[in-house]
């Protein structure tokens, strides 16, 4: 099974402005566990790519916040989730059929349970 996680940045990721609780290590762990990972943020896409590269994570996508539908079209997955800290994150996620977790829910890395579920 394939799982995709989209991360907002500001207010969600530790390197966001403001900083959020989701760490680079959590994202790295997800990537190494086989998740399709990337960011979906109002920060410039060109900057999103650079910042992931600077942390040594080869994310699968880096898009403007409203492009979740494109992400869904590009990547075939059994589950899609977007993680963010604002209502707009939830709204955009739900519009395109993504599951949504708030940033504070994401710090527990709930997506790892999907791996257990599939065993």
């Amino acid at each position: 099974m394939a799982f995709l996680i989209s991360f907002d940045i500001d207010g969600t990721m530790e390197f966001g402005d403001p900083a959020g609780g989701v760490t680079v290590e959590m994202v790295r762990r997800a990537k190494e566990s086989g998740f399709i990972v990337g960011s979906c943020s109002d920060r410039f896409p060109s900057w999103q790519k650079k910042v992931w590269d600077s942390h040594g994570i080869a994310v699968d996508f880096w898009v403007p916040k409203h492009m979740l539908s494109n992400v869904k079209a590009r990547f075939q997955a059994d589950r899609y989730v977007h993680i963010g800290d604002r209502d707009i994150d939830r709204q955009l996620a739900e519009q395109v059929g993504f599951h949504f977790w708030w940033d504070h829910e994401a710090v527990a890395e709930p997506w790892l349970a999907w791996l257990i579920d599939q065993r």
Partner: protein
């Protein structure tokens, strides 16, 4: 204690007034900019008031004068157009250990206050002339220029701080948080239109009339950020030094189509102070004096609840005429324009009203101009300050940079000779603007 606002007859708001009586009699010298922040962390030492004090002290030091030479203070007390507190909301814990209180608890927090500043800056011993330039620092610049020209103050500080509290700007706060709307607001504000919506509609009209499109804005927005990132005092330089690309801009999320997220400025905390004085006194100041040639004002005159393209074009045309008449110069004399860009999509109305780089055209040329070399190295520097889009939301990066350009020390200094420039804010039909010169008028 209440301080007076600007007398109405000080504003040059119509044609036919001739040369400004104060032309060449008022100069700007010292400039002081505070550090910037995205939002207030509720600590006294990083409050809007604290930042304002920093800016004032820097401006005085930059001018190379003693604080007791300051005998005038013009302040814009409004320190946001977004989230604020009731003036009687108690300050956060620890505030009174840092600052003396003024007549209301939110002074220095969510509202600028002259008495609060004077109480908390004991070095300002001789401030006698005090005036509020409400709503926009552009108004304060005009007020201070008139006050110096009229001999009401010899060395005057012009000051504005911006605060930014936690919460959404305009969304679900203030009047938007209420269950009902009243006054004019009941016609326009209940339909969910975001702040940039009106500008977006007029921009759309512009594009249809002149056969232009939103994509043509890209080089302007990219250049704004480029210019702003040259400014070490700007928010983006200090906190988010990343450059926007054309592709970033063209694929950005719509807020109110055709206004996307990067057509909107980012609210920040920052403060600016500038020293105005007479040319004679400026001889003893450290910085080269920048002369004010004239100023102008427009205010909305439309009958409806939202402006139209025609109204914005008429207003900005009028501003151009008023400024040039008062200054005794014309469009070809401008080395640069630093008009406001709070929403990027109305900048071209200001620019066209001034006929900047018009090459004989009147209207509908600005987006074509944007697609040429409008950078600081080129022949037609558009918004060399980088404006709000390049530095974060204030309404004074443009004014600040105009002074610095003409002093030859802007961080985004234009390469052509900077002799005369213009700056103004905010809206195309509600604007106060000034024409500045590096040399006294002939």
């Amino acid at each position: 204690m209440p301080h007076p606002g600007v007398p109405r007859d000080w504003f040059r708001n119509r044609d036919g007034l001739g040369l400004w009586e104060g032309r060449g009699k008022v100069v700007a010298t010292g400039v002081g900019t505070s550090p910037t922040a995205r939002r207030w962390d509720e600590k006294p030492e990083t409050s809007m008031g604290a930042m304002t004090i920093i800016a004032i002290r820097k401006a005085i030091a930059d001018a190379g004068i003693s604080p007791d030479e300051i005998d005038g203070l013009v302040l814009t007390p409004d320190s946001t157009t977004g989230v604020s507190n009731d003036p009687n909301t108690p300050p956060p814990p620890g505030w009174e250990q840092h600052f003396k209180m003024a007549s209301f608890p939110q002074a220095g927090i969510t509202r600028g206050d002259i008495d609060w500043l004077v109480q908390n800056m004991p070095e300002l011993k001789n401030v006698k002339f005090m005036m509020n330039g409400a709503i926009c620092m552009s108004v304060s610049f005009v007020a201070a220029a008139e006050a110096v020209a009229r001999g009401l103050t010899k060395t005057c500080l012009v000051v504005r701080g911006w605060h930014n509290l936690a919460g959404r700007y305009y969304v679900g706060v203030g009047a938007s948080a209420l269950d009902t709307a009243s006054g004019r607001g009941k016609y326009a504000s209940i339909w969910g239109l975001p702040a940039c919506g009106t500008t977006a509609m007029v921009f759309e009209e512009y594009c249809r009339k002149y056969g232009k499109n939103h994509d043509q804005m890209a080089n302007f927005v990219v250049t704004q950020r480029r210019n702003g990132l040259m400014n070490p005092d700007g928010y983006y330089s200090q906190h988010r030094p990343e450059m926007i690309t054309v592709e970033d801009y063209l694929t950005a999320r719509w807020i109110a189509k055709p206004a996307n997220i990067y057509d909107n400025d980012l609210p920040i905390m920052a403060a600016l102070a500038v020293v105005f004085t007479t040319p004679e006194r400026a001889r003893d100041h450290k910085q080269k004096p920048v002369y004010i040639l004239s100023h102008g004002q427009t205010r909305p005159e439309f009958p409806g609840i939202a402006p139209t393209l025609e109204q914005w074009e008429q207003s900005t045309d009028r501003m151009g005429r008023i400024l040039y008449e008062g200054a005794g110069v014309g469009p070809d004399d401008l080395a640069f324009e630093n008009m406001y860009d709070g929403f990027t999509l109305f900048h071209q109305f200001h620019l066209e009203g001034l006929r900047f780089a018009a090459r004989g055209e009147k209207r509908g040329y600005a987006l074509d101009l944007y697609e040429t070399d409008i950078g600081i190295e080129g022949p037609n520097p558009v918004s060399p300050s980088g404006g709000n889009n390049g530095n974060g939301r204030t309404r004074w990066w443009n004014h600040r940079d105009s002074i610095l350009q003409l002093q030859g020390r802007s961080p985004s200094q234009i390469k052509k000779k900077a002799e005369i420039g213009v700056s103004g804010a905010p809206m195309p039909d509600a604007c106060d603007a000034l024409i500045w010169s590096a040399t006294p008028p002939v």
